[in-house]
């Protein structure tokens, strides 16, 4: 080492979170004696402004060149402290965090043992930080064009938001027509506004927009590149291929309706007058509500949660069906005032703006609500007898009265839930994003980053992220647009620096790394028979390094030396403790 290693150690109380279970003062005092540690301090909240200011001041006054903070998980505050180092004029990577909250104080109940464990974790960090190297920030240029997959309301809204800022958008739609699910909707809930006016207006705007190029009937096979510099070829059947270059991608591929044929109790496909909500929407659009026989139905039953909230189909709630069902009931009562409308529901989820009010209004109109158990006892649709005066009967256990009941029905509407497209996985793979257990795309953070993904420059909006209604879809679309406009405005974006790098001399060209890389960051260069890392794509996950049989690949900031010294420091402390005990 060229210069002296001067380490500052900071142990955080985290209020009582850590201090309750770890003797922070003792830890700071004992570890302050380790070699290279120049000073050691404790503070109530290291992450607070005064805590950070203390570190900055110490760095400047004591010429510290490395810092260890023992506090919470690095996932939470590593960035905070790195920034503090940078503010003090130190390279932010000369820093190591020891997690003594999630890994110690929150999970242990013996204070003495916990303190010991904290000590060894911190000793590891101190030992490791000595081998840290300065890493420099890197940036890439942003191509101002954006690719949007899916021409539904979410995709179109995102396209308009970006295009209105004067930036190019490529909008790719699988089907022949833009509009997605909105094409089939007559009125929107809860205010009964016209969905068709909305659809016409927005499609017209998109099609006529000088900055939006629409590709109907086309699909994207594979997107290459990384944030700021993506490219792809879009295909129209087998005919033509267009090459596109763009800086960001928005996935707005939506969801599709659940097929109720699998639910025997509802006899969909068996009785012609059992229809899905989509088929009913079409009737409403046409303006003719009638049975297959062409009669005006007198008794209409609407069954909720078809394919949703049931482990046999989908465990999740499809979020919009309750409100759509209430909307149907209102439209039915409006179109056929003397009809009897029955809503068979499990929990009434009318939670949005104006939604509870619509529920009340629907009740006032005399719609009959019946509650069933959506998990264990679905209602059953049977053929009615001759004297029943209707075509079908629904038998169910009605939970609010505690009785077994039967409901006469001439028309039954199944509120089918939403599920992922069959090719969701394929589409996800083509842009480098993954699916959750329900086959929705996974966002970067479920709460604080609901539209970004783990792949920089790729965003998910609308239903493909999880079922939602029109305003929520549009919000997400615009949210993604905001992020993209932000990067376009800055013209460049910072990328990961803790990437992998390959030692050409050691590489044997086996391509194991190419196969295991989840971010397609590694490629094989035939000429030299070596693997090369595309550092713009690399996330520094380290998979390649551990798979490499010749030890040719290592990750910046996670070199063997750094990791081994951390282990050494940790073990040494344990050993010391044991010796002192015996």
């Amino acid at each position: 080492m060229m210069e002296d290693t001067r380490i500052g150690l900071y142990v955080c109380w985290c209020g009582t979170n850590i201090a309750k279970m770890v003797d922070v003062e003792q830890v700071a005092k004992e570890l302050g004696d380790l070699p290279n540690v120049v000073l050691s301090k404790t503070y109530k909240y290291m992450c607070s402004d005064p805590g950070q200011d203390m570190i900055i001041q110490d760095i400047q006054e004591n010429n510290l060149n490395r810092v260890v903070v023992a506090a919470c998980s690095p996932r939470i505050h590593e960035l905070t402290f790195r920034r503090a180092l940078a503010n003090a004029g130190l390279n932010p990577y000369m820093f190591q965090m020891a997690n003594i909250r999630e890994q110690v104080s929150w999970v242990h109940t013996d204070r003495e043992e916990a303190t010991k464990k904290a000590k060894s974790l911190i000793a590891g960090a101190i030992s490791r930080v000595a081998y840290h190297e300065a890493l420099e920030k890197r940036t890439v240029e942003i191509d101002p064009a954006t690719l949007i997959l899916g021409g539904g309301i979410a995709g179109m809204s995102a396209a308009l938001e970006i295009a209105d800022a004067g930036k190019q958008v490529y909008l790719v739609e699988k089907k022949a027509q833009l509009g997605g699910q909105l094409l089939q909707v007559d009125l929107t809930f809860p205010f009964m506004y016209s969905a068709q006016q909305l659809r016409q207006m927005i499609i017209e705007k998109v099609v006529q927009h000088p900055n939006i190029q629409v590709f109907n009937n086309q699909v994207v096979e594979e997107v290459n590149g990384y944030i700021g510099n993506f490219s792809t070829q879009i295909k129209n059947g087998k005919k033509k291929e267009t090459e596109l270059k763009f800086g960001n991608v928005i996935v707005a591929t939506g969801l599709k309706a659940f097929d109720p044929q699998g639910i025997e109790a509802y006899a969909y496909g068996k009785f012609p007058n059992v229809i899905t909500s989509l088929e009913f929407e079409k009737m409403l659009l046409k303006g003719k509500i009638q049975t297959k026989e062409g009669k005006v139905p007198k008794n209409i039953a609407i069954i909720h949660c078809v394919g949703s909230r049931n482990k046999d189909y989908h465990e999740y709630c499809s979020r919009t069906c309750c409100m759509t069902a209430l909307k149907f009931a209102n439209q039915l009562k409006s179109a056929i005032p003397d009809s009897n409308v029955y809503e068979l529901y499990a929990d009434m989820r009318s939670f949005g703006k104006g939604c509870e009010e619509l529920y009340t209004k629907t009740s006032t109109k005399g719609v009959t609500f019946l509650m069933f158990d959506q998990q264990d006892k679905l209602p059953e649709v049977i053929k009615a007898g001759k004297n029943d005066g209707c075509e079908m009967l629904i038998q169910m256990d009605e939970k609010l009265s505690g009785e077994e009941v039967e409901i006469p029905a001439d028309l039954i509407v199944l509120m089918v839930g939403m599920e992922a497209h069959e090719d969701a996985k394929k589409t996800g793979h083509s842009v480098g994003i993954s699916l959750c257990g329900n086959s929705f795309y996974i966002e970067k953070h479920p709460k604080l980053d609901p539209v970004a993904t783990t792949t920089d420059g790729v965003y998910i909006v609308g239903n493909c992220q999880g079922p939602k209604d029109i305003p929520d879809s549009i919000c997400q679309a615009k949210a993604a647009a905001a992020r993209i406009l932000g990067t376009i405005n800055k013209k460049q974006v910072e990328i990961e620096v803790t990437t992998a790098f390959a030692n050409e001399e050691l590489c044997c060209g086996c391509q194991t790394c190419v196969q295991v890389c989840p971010y397609t960051a590694l490629s094989y260069e035939e000429e030299k028979n070596i693997s090369v890392v595309n550092e713009a794509l690399c996330k520094g996950c380290g998979t390649c390094g551990s798979a490499c049989p010749c030890g040719a690949i290592s990750s910046r900031h996670f070199t063997d030396k750094q990791i081994l010294s951390q282990i050494e420091g940790l073990m040494e402390m344990i050993l010391q403790e044991e010796i002192s005990e015996n």
Binding site: S363, T368, F369, E403, E406
Partner: protein, 354 residues
């Protein structure tokens, strides 16, 4: 047993006074929980609302719970959907009244106010005709009046009230195929009479002691007046004791019914926000009954009855309308049905316990 959902019952019930507010009920259970009369197996009003919403006619007719309610109004006040469960209970009682009534006259009167008013007028004309035949002589009129009262009581009790109570018994106990232990019939009969005369269950309704006292005093006054006029011939008695008891009970009746009329007109309380014509008839006629009886006796005491016979004449018309129409077919029956409902409810519990 599987019930057929029948929303048409809703339309039927609307004619018994209640607005369709109860359609708004989303079954949070607040009304049942807020009611201090509900118990393990006595769950109302929500369960009744549910049965009404789904149109379970056969189930509803066997239900005695609405009679147990004294309409303190708390359920309606705290209902999150303003579904007025309390008022539904009242309307539902009217519905039950016509179900119990074997003659079908109650149904006619409850559904059609004109029919009821015509009947009232016919009765009044009848009395006038009788007046004419008696030449409007005080003595003859009062003698007739006294006999008339007696016969009406017997006739109404035997021909209308008793059969109706038997029908109620059939609906509640026999139709439900309840096996009531014989002993229960006897052991509960005492509470039947206590309830009939004291309405003591009212006291369970929190904070409503005054309303109970009012009810109790009216019952005492009304029954007292009945006994004193019919069996002690109050208008013609010379006994000072009878005379003064008569004055007291007569006053009780019109003073407290007057308070009821005021409350109904002010609509301040939840229980008096909605008034069906039958409610108005009941309180106003009871008030008139007490008042005219009271004045009649004063006139008798003052020796001025002959010149002011019209007062007694009005009393007679009121009595006739009361006895022939309101008692057998109007709201009066709730007094009887309620006590028996508690009795039957007890029998039901006994059967269920077994």
């Amino acid at each position: 047993m599987r019930y057929r959902v029948n929303p048409d019952l809703k339309l039927d019930l609307n004619r018994f006074g209640v607005k369709e507010d109860w359609q708004d009920c989303f079954h949070c259970g607040n009304c049942t929980a807020v009611c201090s009369l509900t118990e393990e197996n006595i769950l109302f009003p929500r369960r009744i609302i549910r049965n009404v919403q789904l149109g379970f006619k056969n189930k509803l007719v066997t239900d005695v719970d609405p009679w147990l309610c004294y309409y303190c109004g708390e359920c309606s006040e705290t209902c999150p959907r303003e579904a007025n469960p309390g008022e539904l209970m009242m309307s539902f009682r009217r519905w039950l009244t016509i179900k119990y009534d074997w003659t079908g006259i109650a149904r006619l009167f409850y559904k059609s106010l004109p029919a009821f008013l015509i009947a009232m007028i016919v009765v009044a004309i009848g009395i006038i005709v009788i007046g004419i035949t008696k030449d409007f002589k005080a003595e003859a009129m009062m003698e007739f009046g006294h006999k008339f009262e007696k016969y009406v009581i017997y006739a109404v009790a035997c021909l209308i009230l008793l059969p109706n109570l038997l029908r109620m018994f059939w609906f509640v106990i026999l139709k439900n195929k309840l096996k009531v232990p014989v002993f229960a019939y006897i052991s509960n009969s005492l509470s039947l009479f206590v309830n009939l005369f004291t309405q003591k269950n009212y006291l369970k309704c929190e904070g409503d002691t005054f309303r109970w006292v009012e009810h109790l005093l009216i019952v005492i006054g009304y029954l007292g007046l009945l006994v004193i006029t019919v069996f002690f011939n109050w208008f013609n008695t010379d006994s000072e004791t009878v005379k003064w008891i008569g004055y007291i009970v007569g006053a009780l009746v019109f003073i407290f019914t007057f308070d009821f009329v005021l409350k109904r007109s002010s609509k301040k309380r939840e229980s008096s926000k909605f008034s069906h014509p039958s409610d108005w008839m009941f309180v106003v006629w009871l008030f008139l009954l007490g008042l005219t009886a009271f004045i009649t006796r004063i006139l008798v005491d003052a020796g001025a009855i002959e010149n002011n016979l019209w007062v007694y004449f009005i009393h007679l018309i009121v009595i006739a309308q009361w006895g022939l129409l309101i008692v057998p077919f109007g709201k009066w029956t709730h007094f009887l049905y309620r006590a028996f409902a508690i009795y039957f409810s007890n029998l039901k519990q006994a059967a269920l316990m077994k």
